[in-house]
């Protein structure tokens, strides 16, 4: 049960990479700028999702 819950989120790192790369490529033309912006957005999105996940885990643990 736990494993099946985790495995549906295995796509997420790849999706995070794709979304940040595509979004950054629509904002810049030069590849070094695109990659830097993509890295920044990747970190921001990962941080946001990690925080939400940690809060939900904490809430479920306390309940």
């Amino acid at each position: 049960m736990m494993l099946s819950t985790i495995t549906i989120y295995l796509h997420l790192p790849l999706m995070l990479l794709v979304i940040s790369l595509v979004y950054s490529a629509t904002r810049h033309e030069e590849w070094d700028e695109i990659l830097i912006e993509a890295f920044r957005w990747g970190i921001r999105m990962f941080g946001f999702m990690f925080t939400v996940g940690a809060v939900l885990f904490g809430v479920s643990f306390l309940w």
Partner: protein, 194 residues
């Protein structure tokens, strides 16, 4: 006498291109390839179509559709989109989402098959019983699947804008930073006092 045309500055936004935008709507990245921005075009095409297809496969290829019938007959497009708003986002991926429109506007299926082939059920609205069985018997994967297809469609709006007017950051005029004023030294302070 003719003078050679001056090349536009590198950071200048390109001329708006309706053709590029239209091509990028049809197939993500095609407008950029037409504009000879091959690497970006390939990135958009592979990423967005890949994400859309992965999302569809997670929903067993039946999460991109427009419901066409209610109890009384053919439902209006607006009514269908209120019921199934996901398609308003999925539509922007372009040609890849057109089979759903074709099923919506096309003739109703003549017979309900037990196990229809892949192409017959591709983007066709699933039956209520089939949909309930699928949702009850699967984990959260189908939900994640339609999210991916909607994200791919929404991102393609940015790609269409990029093909129309170039990267967004070039459209914002950059303000050069002012040179920092030199800090006063002790000697200059003494001179000012004297």
């Amino acid at each position: 006498m003719s003078s050679a045309p001056t090349a536009p500055p590198k950071d200048a936004p390109p001329e708006p291109s309706m053709l590029g935008a239209g091509l990028s709507y049809l197939i993500p990245g095609l407008g950029q390839i037409y504009q000879q921005r091959y690497a970006k075009g390939a990135l958009f095409m592979v990423s967005l179509l890949g994400m859309f297809m992965v999302g569809q496969s997670m929903g067993q290829w039946q999460n991109v559709y427009i419901p066409r019938e209610d109890g009384g007959g053919h439902r209006s497009l607006v009514g269908s989109l209120v019921l199934r708003w996901h398609y308003a986002g999925q539509f922007w991926i372009g040609v890849a989402a057109w089979p759903a429109l074709s099923h919506y506007y096309g003739p109703p299926p003549r017979d309900v098959e037990e196990n229809p082939s892949f192409w017959r059920r591709y983007q066709r609205p699933p039956g209520e019983t089939q949909l309930n069985e699928f949702i009850v018997n699967s984990d959260r994967t189908p939900d994640l699947g339609w999210v991916y297809t909607v994200i791919a469609g929404m991102l393609n709006i940015l790609v269409i804008y990029d093909a129309y007017a170039g990267p967004m950051i070039l459209a914002v005029p950059t303000i050069p930073r002012k040179a920092a004023a030199p800090q006063p030294t002790m000697e200059s302070k003494k001179e000012a006092v004297a």
